[in-house]
């Protein structure tokens, strides 16, 4: 492997103090390097949020609280052994299906989509967020019980596990999340060693089905988003506004940017959703290409570290789950930045740990906790 030197550097301490800290962290089932990288990302996220929200300190504090809760969730998730997750996987899956069905029957939401579940005594939450963790967990649980590389029958059964929640979420309707969730399940199959021939056929089938989706699955507003993506100038004040303004923000930032909190597109409110989905445009405008590159490097390091940790997991279950969660994290990053910069259609995907939003922050941090649990718990 060409990058094995780099792996060694990232994987081993180079400083005695760092070694001691690392040992301490290992005892509480955390990976020091990943935690540091995540803390840096959180801090950067808070700074970008501060300027992206128009210096809204209330929002900043709330997001910091979300991150605190997320870190707690991460720590907690890391303490539980992989065996525990393996044990609860099927039950969690059933619970998730019940929640998804309840959303369709009694969910609440806005703009024609039912995504939220309001249970008495619990804060309002989106069951689909839970599924983002539960689906890879369940598929990993299933595949870990099967021989490796998997037989086609096992893959088909696993696909069934993926398809059911995907369709339920598609019905809400939430095309973006359903695609991301099915991707997280498919990644498990990929890591499990799905044959290349099968992967090739799957890609062929999906490409063939795409036009059918247009006619039978997609809602008008979803089609509109795709049309706008293809030609935003067709409706510059309507649905094209967001993407035109975000590209303007990014492009006008240039290499060095207009300066922190000096972005005219974001500070003068031309850029919509500048604290949530479109926040990368704020960074690109104010800190330029340099800022974007730094953030991308940070994301790359995190994902790379996660993949390293995944491969260190002692169990197949752990490797499959951690690997899938790591790559899913990258997909979020890619889809969000791709959408804001205009190479992908607009789907509601936040930029991980930078966009404002409690559910997303907590579920992402919990996922990192899971990855660390898989990697660091020793088999007894």
């Amino acid at each position: 492997m060409s990058n094995s030197d780099f792996t060694r550097t990232l994987g081993s301490g180079i400083h005695p103090g760092f070694d001691r800290g690392k040992a301490l962290f290992t005892r509480i089932h955390l990976d020091l390097l990943l935690v540091i990288l995540l803390l840096v990302l959180c801090l950067a996220g808070l700074l970008i949020l501060y300027t992206g929200s128009g210096r809204d300190t209330h929002m900043l504090v709330r997001q910091a609280v979300h991150m605190g809760i997320g870190l707690l969730g991460m720590g907690l998730a890391a303490q539980l052994p992989p065996r525990f997750y393996q044990m609860i996987a099927p039950w969690a899956y059933l619970l998730a299906l019940v929640a998804l069905i309840s959303v369709l029957i009694a969910g609440v939401g806005a703009k024609g989509a039912q995504r939220w579940l309001a249970l008495p005594g619990l804060p309002r939450f989106q069951p689909s967020e839970l599924v983002k963790l539960i689906l890879p967990l369940t598929v990993a649980w299933y595949m870990a019980r099967r021989p490796v590389p998997p037989h086609i029958t096992d893959l088909l059964k696993a696909s069934g596990l993926i398809v059911i929640p995907t369709i339920l979420i598609l019905k809400q309707p939430d095309l973006g999340t359903s695609l991301l969730i099915s991707a997280s399940g498919l990644l498990v199959l990929f890591f499990a060693g799905m044959a290349w021939k099968l992967i090739g056929s799957l890609i062929a089938i999906v490409s063939a089905c795409a036009p059918l989706m247009w006619f039978f699955v997609m809602h008008d507003y979803q089609k509109q988003r795709v049309l706008t993506f293809l030609n935003p100038e067709s409706d510059p004040l309507g649905s094209g506004w967001n993407i035109i303004q975000s590209k303007t923000a990014i492009g006008s930032g240039g290499i060095e940017g207009k300066g922190f909190m000096q972005g005219t597109q974001s500070q003068l409110e031309f850029l919509p959703e500048s604290h949530t989905d479109f926040i990368i445009a704020v960074l690109a405008e104010e800190l330029g290409l340099i800022g974007v590159l730094l953030l991308l490097v940070l994301y790359f390091l995190i994902i790379f570290r996660c993949l390293v940790l995944s491969s260190r997991s002692e169990t197949l279950f752990g490797r499959l789950l951690a690997g899938s969660l790591s790559v899913t994290f990258f997909i979020y990053v890619f889809v969000n930045i791709g959408m804001v910069s205009g190479i992908l259609p607009v789907v509601g995907v936040p930029l991980p740990l930078v966009s404002y939003g409690g559910t997303s922050v907590v579920s992402l941090m919990t996922a990192f906790g899971l990855i660390m649990s898989m990697a660091i718990h020793q088999k007894r």
Binding site: R145, F190, A249, G251, S252, T264, F270, L289, L307, G323
Partner: protein, 618 residues
């Protein structure tokens, strides 16, 4: 789970690592795609987006000029600009539109019409975060209520602008006219010329009627410009550069508010009009039509209810009788015919006729009656004016003939609109052979001349024309065209010589004779306006007129009591004073006023008295 232990563990890990490495490479490649995309936007297209973002942020805004003010001759303000406040909504910021509207409704009230208009405006294409007007003309109390509750009303704001206001309301409604929002047709017209398009780029209102329309280009002013930094909602954050607008010119009119108000008071219970002209300058002192309307209603857009009420009112308040009312001049024409027939040598001041109460043309059986059934007996021209003898004028007109009368009367401005700056005035109708052939395809009969002799028949005049002719008479034929405008921005307009020719009489003494005859209309015990003697402060020369509304058939008894009020005769009166050195000429028409001496003449007298007794103010 124990089955795992039987597996080839190292092979599993190897498989996972190779798959992870492949995905790692893909991830690396995709990150490369993102970097390429960002670099493409931020380096290759940098200038394009830099421009777009600057154009977003920086706007060149035209600033509307302040419209010129309008004053009367005494410096009293007739039209001003006052701040008006509108309630606006930014729909994107309003959390719950229905609740917000209900809250505002409870607080200051919104009409169904406001709601409908809001819905219509919301459906129109607009930029996100652009404010939409919900209500115009907030009172101070309403503004205070909105401001106090603003915390509960995100997206709701109050915006100020200057709007036209007419402090004297109805009194000057017709003559001043009003401004209103520029409509689509006017906008298209303004857009045809690059210069007017530029001048009106920030303007919302334009003169629609009267002086406001006539002097629109003077009142409007020149727009200024500012370079501003705005946010996405168009809210101005900083002014980067500014050039101030040039306000429009202030206008001073010849109109006299005191006379105008008195005319309004005096005509209060009538339909009618009054026009008074300063003889020496041609300045129009008063131009009033009753009933009027409140011009302020039209400025920000009149409601349907208000407009329908005005339109459907049988008294036609929107109709400017002073310049567009068409009345037969009736006996008020007699002095002009009288001057004509003497000067043409058809008759003389000493010649008499014997009036038996009726007049017949040769070879015709038709009988033309005098208003006095038994006739006036032996009458000369002076007595014919004083007592308004019809038969004398039947006879005189026929003697002169239409071919001589017609051009003579035209010299007094009948059949034309000669006022310099009263647009939209009806030109009146001076009938003649040519005119009759064109409009009736018939030749002019001697009987038509008979009718013309007493100002009946085809002839039509407006009160403005009557006053103009009277002023010309008072000025002994020297033309000073009537005008409203006295000064632009304090600079007095030169009295330009009008195109109309002065009237040169063969014998100038005829003016004096006619002045004397018209004075006796008031001072003689037989004068038709002798009622004015009671309040006579200044010597007045005048002439009454009674215009028939329906034709009275021959031998039919004229019984005014039996006729409905609206079929009663119109009462007309023209006058000038003082006779020795005429300063003011006036014409009054009271529709269905029946008796000119009792209704129209006292109104004219009160205006004359006020003008002559204190021309320097109250």
């Amino acid at each position: 789970m124990w089955e795992h232990s039987f597996r080839d563990k190292s092979a599993e890990v190897k498989l996972f690592r190779s798959r992870a490495a492949i995905l790692g490479l893909i991830i690396f490649a995709l990150l490369g795609v993102l970097v390429w995309r960002m670099a493409y936007l931020q380096i290759t297209l940098y200038e394009k987006y830099q421009n777009l973002s600057e154009n977003n942020r920086i706007k060149i805004q035209p600033l509307p000029p302040k419209r010129g003010l309008i004053y009367d001759r005494n410096g009293e303000l007739l039209a001003e600009n006052v701040p008006s406040y509108s309630l606006t909504l930014v729909p994107e910021r309003v959390r719950n539109m229905e609740d917000t509207l209900n809250f505002i409704d409870d607080m200051i009230g919104i009409s169904e019409r406001d709601r409908e208009q809001l819905e219509r405006r919301l459906e129109l294409r607009r930029r996100p975060y652009e404010p939409v007007v919900l209500r115009h003309q907030l009172t101070e109390v309403e503004i205070a209520k909105v401001m106090v509750n603003r915390v509960y009303l995100p997206g709701v704001d109050v915006e100020a602008q200057l709007v036209r206001h007419y402090p004297q309301g109805e009194t000057f409604a017709h003559v001043l006219g009003y401004v209103g929002r520029i409509n689509q047709r006017e906008q298209n017209h303004l857009d045809t010329d690059i210069d007017t398009k530029r001048r009106y780029s920030a303007t919302q209102y334009i003169g629609k009627q009267g002086i406001e329309k006539r002097y629109e280009s003077d009142l409007h002013g020149e727009p200024g410009y500012q370079k501003v930094e705005t946010n996405a909602r168009g809210r101005i954050l900083r002014v980067l550069e500014q050039s101030d607008p040039t306000p429009g010119q202030d206008l001073t009119l010849h109109l006299d508010s005191r006379l105008q108000r008195l005319a309004q008071q005096q005509l209060a219970n009538h339909r009618g009009a009054l026009v008074a002209i300063e003889v020496k300058t041609g300045g129009i002192l008063s131009l009033y039509s009753n009933p009027g309307f409140d011009p302020n209603l039209f400025v920000t857009g009149i409601s349907h209810t208000d407009y329908n009420a005005l339109r459907d009112n049988p008294d036609l308040p929107l109709f400017d009788r002073a310049i567009r009312g068409r009345y037969p001049p009736a006996s008020t024409l007699k002095p002009f015919i009288g001057i004509g027939v003497t000067d043409l040598g058809v008759t003389s001041w000493s010649r008499t006729i014997f009036d038996t109460g009726s007049f017949m043309l040769e070879n015709s059986s038709r009988v033309y009656r005098d208003w006095k059934r038994q006739g006036h007996g032996e009458v000369n021209l002076e007595r014919a004016i004083v007592e308004s003898c019809d038969v004398y004028f039947y006879d005189a007109a026929v003697r002169a003939g239409i071919d001589k009368l017609d051009p003579f009367l035209a010299q007094f401005g009948f059949g034309q609109n000669l006022a310099i700056d009263v647009d939209n005035a009806f030109s009146g109708l001076l009938p003649g052979r040519e005119w009759k052939r064109k409009h009736y395809k018939a030749s002019w009969y001697a009987g038509d001349t008979v009718n013309l002799g007493i100002g009946q028949g085809y002839m039509q005049v407006t009160p403005l024309q009557l006053a103009t002719a009277t002023a010309l008479m008072a000025n002994r034929g020297k033309w000073v065209a009537p005008r409203l405008l006295s000064a632009h921005s304090g600079q007095h307009e030169a009295i330009d010589e009008s195109e109309a020719q002065d009237i040169k009489l063969n014998n100038e003494d005829n003016w004096d004779h006619m002045f004397e005859a018209m004075r006796k209309v008031i001072s003689s015990p037989h004068g038709t306006a002798r009622v004015l003697q009671k309040h006579l402060e200044f010597s007045i020369a005048g002439k009454t007129g009674t215009a028939q509304v329906v034709g009275i058939k021959q031998d039919e008894e004229y019984d005014s009591d039996a006729l409905r009020e609206r079929l009663r005769d119109h009462a007309l009166f023209i006058a000038f004073a003082p006779v020795e050195d005429p300063q003011i000429a006036i014409a009054v028409v009271v529709e269905n006023g029946e008796s000119a001496g009792r209704t129209a003449a006292p109104i004219a007298q009160s205006v004359i008295n006020l003008y002559l007794s204190g021309s320097t103010g109250e």
